[in-house]
Amino acid sequence: MSKIGVFICHCGENISATVDCEKVAQEIRKVEGVEYAIDYKYMCSDPGQTLIKDAIKEHHLDGVVVGSCSPRMHEPTFRKACAEAGLNPFLCEMANLREHCSWVHEKGEATTEKAFDLVKMLVEKVKRNKPLDSIKVPITKKALVIGGGIAGIQASLDIANTGHQVILIEKDPSIGGHMSQLSETFPTLDCSQCILTPRMVEVAQHPNITLYTYAELESLEGFIGNFTAKIRLKAKSVDHKKCTGCGACFQKCPQKRIPSEFNAGLGTRTAIYVPFPQAVPNKPVIDREHCNYYKRGKCKICEATCPTGAIEWDKEDEILTEQVGAIVVTTGFNVKGTDFFPEYGYGQYKDVITGLQFERLASASGPTLGEIRRPSDGTIPKKIVFIACAGSRDEAKGIPYCSKICCMYTAKHAMLYQHKVHDGESTVFYMDIRAGGKNYEEFVRRAIEEDHVNYVRGRVARVYEKNGKLIVKGVDTLLSGEQVEIEADMVVLATAGVSNCGAEQLAQKMHISYDPYHFFAEAHPKLKPVETNTAGIFLAGACQAPKDIPETVGMASGAAVKVAGLFSNNELVREPLIAVVNRSAPPVFSTCVSCFMCQTACPYNAIEREEIKGRDGKVIKTVAKVNPGLCQGCGTCVAFCRSKSIDIQGYSNEQMFAEVMSLLNH
């Protein structure tokens, strides 16, 4: 005879506002098997948990049902409390009276009845619960970091410094990401590459970090502590073990006019190339799509020039398989191009550029060596217009969110321009100024008060070209909507920050969630910003949402600590809510009929075949067996099994039926 304790929580007012908790506790007391039932304001609090523990001891309870919030919130809390009172934690269940009941219905009798039904279902289930022990799985103490921008670099260094191995993969030929493309960073106007390159070198030299550039994730399988990652090492066509980085090859390469990705399309590069002078590794790769040899079988000048014979024409992509225990995703973001804007010219005006392109102009290693010059004719612009919110906060264009960093970098760009072109005139068309970080507001005021950047509140309706100048038609909403027309030499659009290309495919490969804009989803927007809903996979940086460098670095270190925390245990404790094939005494041994439909159905390859042998060593029958380390408890096998020989511990067929019948016999 069961002795179940039921604890109905008011959850402050979250549940009691629509559910009569006292009544539910009263009514549930009448159900057969319920020994003790109370209601209380905050079951998850210390006094609340004490109530449970005391009740277990006083009334010798052999099962506990807590009617409160979602198990995702407090199942561990209540299970721990029961364990402390001596009750197996898996004899404790929660009935979700909040997300499933009080939060979605109006106050009334029907709501209270539903709450009662939910609790009763769980009582019937718990009557059939069995004590279970957690499963322990070994952990591979190696981390995989995907993406070599500042987030990936920081995360890799932090994990490596805790003594664990890290594999860092980056799809471009060099690490560094967007931060390496910036000229100076706000609010300090530090030279971006100067503060970044030391870290890049540290990554390359760190004994605990294995760096693979020009590499991408091919596939991912497994689960927390036990992932199997297949990494595609794209063929560089250059053997980096032989290459010394002397640079002779790309000086001679005849294909010189390929738009440079690093220079955001403003400069050119060769087919065999190193993306920028401070690249890590500072060794070239061959872009086979534009190389004369790969396209037409001609040239090979680089091979002739190379003093060490490092060119490998026939190298193919390699797939590397690595076992890792945790993954940090730091794949970064992208920005919209000027072709996204019909009203600003559909990308056809050379002197209408993006913020990122402006960074390249301002950068000393850029196509104009740090001089602000018009891409069309190379002259120095005397009048620049900066358009903030280009594409962001724009429902009509499908980007309703704010891209966060543009107000700050626009102020920075205007300041850099004024510093470089003393007699230049700059105007910023803005809607709001979002400068919430430390020293950010003061930075923007400097632009307005000291550098005399002209800030006009209003958006720009259109930009068109006339006689080599760009006519900007804007408005000053603070002057009651007076139209403002400027004949500018250059227009810089602070274009919206968007997810990186391939983000959706990557998320699907890793089975992590993403939002409608293909930014990866954090597990909880407030309290779990660096975790995903997939255990063992963490996030950092702009792949989760547009953000600036301090936030990115903070998140990267946060993700690193989560990984280190995971690796600080020798084993991973897993919930025992997994499938088990029944075994019984001889001569039956098991009701399994050896059809192995379960093995075909299992998405995690967790089912194996087990031979049952007699004392003479002969095989009596081969039955299915579940690998407790791989099984995720999804239940697909249970649905397929024809002989009902496989069941989920803690969610058995019997328990499920009991819950349903409890509802029907209301």
């Binding site: 019909p342 009203e343 010219g345 559909y346 259109r462 068109y464 070209e465 006339k466 006519i471």
Partner: protein, 279 residues
């Protein structure tokens, strides 16, 4: 091939030459235009500025007539009428509005008619024929002026590109012309204020003419009778506002195509223009 035809009031009156050129090139391109019987005025700007139900009922009657006549597709050369008919068809997807309006016009209405403008008609049915039959290439540098109502509201019309449309430009290229890149393709000419505020039309149409002339266009090509009238008939008032008066002609796309197909200026109505058409 046959297609329904809604000329509208301007094609019968002050923009008679548009009608003439549409009919002439339709004939040359083997397109038979079946005029909607007993059609009424669509209400243009006046109706929607004064009363919503009136502005929906007048076009609804036209669409109902077309349906009753068994027409499946109707070409509407006048951009304003095209816009009113398309917007009405869209608004009447709402059940309440449709009920009210069909009650007012007392005619059955299904809303299934396909409504196209003259550019769409040429794009869908005549591009190859035009290419074949060009005998006198229209070798001129011209500015294609689309105006407002062919392109906007984009969500309803779903035609061409909203800021820098290209359909007329493509047609001009097809007949041997050189369309220029210019900045006033879709800026309003002053529309229905032609009579009540001629000064504003002079200002707005002046801006358009100025940009086209400064960029060396020898003519402006239009597909809207209102635009043509404002840029052509009101040239006197416009030139008073410009420091460099312009004498470039304004002709309909159908007239340009007609010329390329070898039709005479007279049958294309080119002699009815105010600004001399010397192309």
């Amino acid at each position: 091939m046959k297609i329904g035809f809604y000329p509208g009031c301007s094609l019968k009156g002050s923009s008679r030459e548009y009608n003439e050129s549409v009919v002439a090139i339709a004939k040359a391109l083997d397109i038979e235009l079946v005029e909607i019987k007993d059609w009424n005025c669509c209400g243009a700007t006046a109706a929607h500025s004064m009363n919503e139900e009136l502005s929906l009922s007048l076009p609804a009657r036209i669409l109902a007539l077309a349906e009753a006549q068994g027409l499946k597709e109707v070409v509407v050369p006048c951009a304003a009428c095209y816009n009113r008919l398309m917007v009405t068809q869209h608004e009447l997807k709402d059940n309440n509005k449709r009920e009210r309006v069909t009650d007012i016009i007392k005619m059955p209405y299904s809303g299934d008619l396909k409504i196209i403008n003259v550019l769409q008609m040429l794009e869908t049915y005549a591009m190859d024929k035009i290419q074949e039959k060009v005998t006198k290439p229209f070798a001129h540098k011209v500015a294609c002026y689309y105006g407002c109502l062919l392109i906007r509201p984009h969500k309803i019309l779903q035609f061409d590109r909203v800021e820098d449309p290209q359909s007329m430009d493509a047609m001009v290229k097809l007949i041997g012309g050189t369309p220029i890149n210019w900045a006033f393709k879709t800026e309003c000419c002053g529309a229905g204020l032609s009579v009540s505020r001629t000064d504003l039309v002079a200002k707005l149409s002046g801006n358009i003419l100025k940009d086209a002339t400064e960029r060396d266009a020898k003519a402006i090509i239009v597909a809207c009778p209102m635009c043509q009238s404002n840029l052509d008939m009101r040239r006197g008032a416009i030139n008073e506002t410009l420091s460099n008066p312009s004498d470039i002609p304004v002709i309909f796309i159908t007239q340009a195509i007609g010329l390329a197909l070898g039709l005479s200026p007279k049958e294309l109505g080119l002699e009815r223009h105010f600004v001399n058409v010397k192309l």
